[in-house]
C-alpha cells in the first residue's frame, strides 16, 4: 500500500525488547502475587493423610475434591453467609448514607470548622483498630449494663454494624468529599437559586451525581466488611452469630489443624470476593483513584 508509514526497523526492535523486558518483570511480580493463591488451591486438592505420610513437598499420590465437600459440610456455610449479609448490607448502606451527608456539608457549605470537621472524621482512620479493642469492648459492656441488657451492643449484630460504620465512615467521607469538590459549584448555585432546600439539594441534586463514587465505595466497603474477622471475633460471644470468616475457624481443631481442609475452606470463603472483583473490576479500579485529582 502506498500509505504505509515507513518505520525505523531498529527502533521497532528496540521497542520490542523493551516491551518483553517489562512483560517479564510484570510477569514475575504477578507470579509472586498469585503464588500463594495457587498454592492454596493446590493444597486444597491434596488429602491430609498424604501430607503427614510424605511431607508437604512430596509428589502427590491423590488429588481430589474431597476437602471441598468436607469443608462445605463441616462449616455450615449457609448460616455464616447469612450472618455476613446481616452485618454487611446495613453497614454499607449506613456508611454510604452518612458519609455522603457529611461530605456534602463539608464540601458544599463553607463555614468556620468545615476543614476541621473533615479532619476529625478522617483522623479516626489513622488509628489502628487493635488499639481501640479494649475500650470498645468495655464501652459496649457498660452501655449494655446501663440499659440493663448486656447484649444490647455486645454479642449483637447491631453492635458490629455500628463499629463498622464508625470505622469506615471517615474513609467514605474523605473519598466522597474529594469527589464532590470536582463537581462544578455552578450546579449547586443554580439549585439554591431555584429554591432548593438543603436536603433537596443533597438528595435530588448531589446524590445522583455521586453514583460512580458510591458504587465504587460500596464495592470496596463490602469487600472490607466481608473480610472482617477481628470485630466479629471479639464483640460476639456466640459463634452462631459470627460471620463467614469465622466459619473457617471451625475447621481448626484444639490440637490438630488439617491445613488441606483449611485451604479448601479458605478457597470457598474467598470465592465471593474474587467473583465480586472480577464482575465489578471497573468500579474497583475507579475506587482506587477516586478523588485523586481535585478539581
Amino acid at each position: 500500500m502506498s500509505t504505509t508509514i515507513v518505520q525505523n526497523k531498529e527502533y521497532k526492535n528496540k521497542q520490542k525488547t523493551k516491551d518483553n523486558f517489562i512483560s517479564a518483570i510484570i510477569g514475575f511480580f504477578a507470579f509472586v502475587w498469585i503464588f500463594p493463591i495457587l498454592w492454596t488451591l493446590w493444597t486444597s486438592l491434596r488429602p491430609y493423610n498424604d501430607i503427614i505420610s510424605y511431607g508437604v513437598f512430596s509428589w502427590p499420590r491423590n488429588l481430589n475434591l474431597d476437602n471441598y465437600f468436607q469443608a462445605f459440610r463441616v462449616m455450615g456455610l449457609t448460616k455464616y453467609f447469612l450472618n455476613t449479609l446481616y452485618v454487611m448490607v446495613p453497614s454499607v448502606i449506613l456508611i454510604l448514607f452518612l458519609g455522603s451527608l457529611i461530605a456534602f456539608v463539608v464540601s458544599r457549605y463553607s463555614f468556620r470548622f468545615n476543614l476541621t470537621l473533615l479532619l476529625f472524621f478522617t483522623a479516626g482512620n489513622m488509628l489502628p483498630t487493635i488499639a481501640t479493642y479494649i475500650p470498645v469492648f468495655w464501652l459496649y459492656i457498660k452501655i449494655g449494663d446501663l440499659f440493663g441488657n448486656r447484649s444490647l451492643l455486645y454479642n449483637n449484630y447491631f453492635g458490629i454494624i455500628l463499629i463498622h460504620v464508625a470505622f469506615q465512615v471517615g474513609f467514605a467521607t474523605f473519598v466522597l468529599s474529594s469527589y464532590m469538590k470536582t463537581v462544578p459549584k455552578e450546579i449547586s448555585e443554580s439549585a439554591i437559586l431555584d429554591g432548593c432546600s438543603v436536603f433537596r439539594h443533597y438528595w435530588n441534586v448531589m446524590l445522583p451525581l455521586l453514583r460512580p463514587p458510591l458504587a465504587a465505595l460500596g464495592v470496596l466497603m463490602s469487600c472490607w466488611i466481608y473480610n472482617d474477622f477481628f470485630w466479629a471475633l471479639i464483640l460476639m460471644s456466640e459463634d452462631s452469630k459470627r460471620p463467614v470468616t469465622s466459619a473457617l475457624r471451625q475447621l481448626q481443631g484444639q490440637y490438630i489443624t488439617d491445613f488441606n481442609l483449611l485451604a479448601a475452606g479458605a478457597s470457598i470463603v474467598a470465592a465471593p470476593t474474587i467473583i465480586l472483583f472480577l464482575v465489578l473490576r471497573k468500579q474497583f479500579v475507579s475506587g482506587l483513584t477516586l478523588g485523586a485529582t481535585k478539581g
Binding site: Y154, S246, Q250, Y255
Partner: protein
C-alpha cells in the same frame, strides 16, 4: 383510704415473706437432708474445638446424658479453641456460656482471683473420694483454697518412640534408666542415620516439655514450681545445669528445630525418621488416624533419672476439666453440669461416645484401655508429683512471651546462656504484680 390499704398490703406482704422465709428454711433443711439440691434452668456450654471433632461429639453425648438425668436443657456451641483461650478474659467479662472445658493451673487460678470463675468446691466435695488428693490439690487455687475447676482428664508428657524403629536398631528404650543411657540411645540412633532426639520448637512451647522434665529430674518438683513462681532465680547454678543438659541433647536433634512446630516433630516420628521424642501423648490420635498399625507401634516411657535424689518422681501431666463462668446466666446450673461431667455417670456417657482420654476419677473403669493407654497410666503412676506444663504452672505473660523465646534463643545459640538467663530473670522482675 389508700394509706390503710397500703398498710394492709404491706403488712400482708411482710407476713407472706415471713411464711415464705420459714418455708424456705424448712425446704432448705429438707433438701440438705436429702443431700441433693435440685438445680433447674437451661445451661449453656462451650465446646473448645470444632463440631466435627470427636471431642465435640463426646461432649454433646455427655451433655445429653445430663439433660436426660435432670431435665435441664444444655445448649452447646463449638468455638475455636485458640480464639477462646486468647480472648478468655473478654469472653468471661461479657456474656459467657455457663460452663466450658478448661485447664487447671495458672489459667484457672488467676482468672478465679479476678472473679471471673465460679467456685465449684461444693461439686468437687460431692465427687468425694473418686478424685485423688493429688487431683484435688492440682485443682485448688492456692490463694483461697477453693476449687474453680472440676478435674476430669489428663495426659502424660514422656519419651515417645516407635517400637518397630527401636527393634530394627536393636535398642530397648524401656531399659534406659539414667541420663547416660539416654545419651547412648541417642548416639546409637544417630549412628544409624536417624534423628536422635526429635524436637520442633517453632511454636516456642514445645521445648518447654524438655525444660520442665530436665528441671524436675535435676532439681526436683519443688524447685521447678518455685522457679516458675519467682521464688527461685533463673540465674541460679541449678538452672544453668538444666540448660547444660539440654545443650548435651542439641547435637542429637534435627537441624531444623526452630523451623518446625510440634506437628513437624510428630511427622518425624510418624515417618520413622527419628528415635525418641519428648511430647505430650495427646498426639497419639494422629497415629490412630493414620492407621491402627501406626498407633499400635507407638509407645511411651518416663524420662530417665538424672539426679538419684529425685529419681523419676515427677512428671508433666496437664490436667483438664470443666470450669464455670461467674458472669454466666446460670452459674448454678453450670456448676451442676460440671459436677455431673466429672461424676461416674458423666464419664460413662463420654466413654460410651468413644472418649479415649484418661479420666482422673477412680470411678472410671480402666480395664477397657488399650495397651498404649495402660502404658500412659503406668507412666503417670510412676510419678509422685504432677506438674501441669510450664505454660500452666507460671504466669501467662511470662511463659509465652519470655520463657518460650529464651529457650528458642538457647537452642539457636547455646553459648549465650548467661545472657539469656539474666534477661529472663530481669523480665520476671519487671512484671507487674498480679
Amino acid at each position: 383510704m389508700s394509706d390503710v390499704n397500703n398498710g394492709i398490703s404491706r403488712r400482708s406482704v411482710l407476713k407472706g415473706a415471713a411464711i415464705g422465709g420459714a418455708g424456705l428454711v424448712a425446704g432448705g433443711s429438707l433438701l440438705a437432708g436429702c443431700g441433693k439440691k435440685q438445680v433447674t434452668g437451661d445451661v449453656h456450654f462451650t465446646i473448645r474445638g470444632n463440631l466435627s471433632d470427636a471431642g465435640a461429639k463426646i461432649a454433646i453425648a455427655a451433655n445429653d446424658a445430663y439433660t436426660k438425668k435432670t431435665g435441664n436443657k444444655v445448649i452447646s456451641q463449638a468455638v475455636n479453641s485458640d480464639d477462646f483461650q486468647n480472648n478468655f478474659v473478654q469472653i468471661m467479662q461479657g456474656t459467657p456460656d455457663d460452663a466450658f472445658g478448661w485447664m487447671a493451673g495458672w489459667r484457672t487460678n488467676a482468672r478465679a482471683d479476678a472473679g471471673l470463675l465460679a467456685d465449684v468446691s461444693e461439686q468437687v466435695k460431692a465427687l468425694g473420694s473418686s478424685l485423688s488428693a493429688a487431683a484435688i490439690q492440682g485443682a485448688t487455687n492456692p490463694s483461697d483454697g477453693k476449687q474453680y475447676i472440676i478435674p476430669t482428664t489428663y495426659y502424660p508428657w514422656g519419651l515417645h518412640y516407635r517400637k518397630s524403629t527401636m527393634q530394627e536398631l536393636g535398642l530397648n528404650p524401656e531399659s534406659i534408666a539414667t541420663w547416660d543411657d539416654l545419651i547412648k540411645l541417642c548416639e546409637a540412633t544417630q549412628k544409624k542415620g536417624l534423628v536422635g532426639y526429635a524436637l520442633g520448637d517453632k511454636g516456642g512451647w514445645e521445648a518447654m516439655g524438655t525444660f520442665d522434665i530436665l528441671n524436675m529430674r535435676l532439681n526436683g518438683y519443688q524447685f521447678h514450681i518455685d522457679l516458675l513462681n519467682g521464688k527461685e532465680q533463673w540465674t541460679d547454678a541449678k538452672v544453668v545445669e538444666v540448660f547444660n543438659h539440654m545443650g548435651e541433647l542439641i547435637p542429637f536433634m534435627n537441624k531444623n528445630v526452630l523451623d518446625i512446630s510440634w506437628d513437624g516433630m510428630r511427622d518425624l516420628l510418624l515417618q520413622k525418621k527419628c528415635g525418641a521424642m519428648m511430647m505430650g501423648s495427646w498426639f497419639a490420635n494422629d497415629f490412630l488416624a493414620k492407621s491402627q498399625a501406626d498407633y499400635d507401634d507407638l509407645w511411651i516411657v518416663p524420662f530417665p533419672e538424672i539426679n538419684p535424689e529425685h529419681g523419676i518422681d515427677s512428671i508433666d501431666a496437664p490436667l483438664d476439666g470443666i470450669s464455670v463462668a461467674a458472669n454466666g446466666k446460670n452459674p448454678e446450673g453450670g456448676a451442676d453440669l460440671a459436677g455431673f461431667l466429672g461424676s461416674k455417670e458423666g464419664i460413662d456417657a463420654a466413654v460410651a461416645a468413644g472418649d479415649t482420654n484418661i479420666y482422673i476419677s477412680s470411678d472410671f473403669d480402666t480395664s477397657s484401655y488399650d495397651a498404649f493407654n495402660k502404658q500412659k497410666l503406668a507412666v503417670l503412676g510412676a510419678a509422685k508429683n504432677i506438674g501441669f506444663f510450664l505454660d500452666r504452672d507460671t504466669r501467662g505473660d511470662f511463659a509465652g512471651p519470655v520463657v518460650g523465646p529464651a529457650i528458642q534463643s538457647f537452642l539457636k545459640n547455646p553459648k549465650d546462656l548467661t545472657k539469656i538467663l539474666e534477661s529472663t530473670q530481669a523480665q520476671w522482675d519487671a512484671l507487674p504484680a498480679l
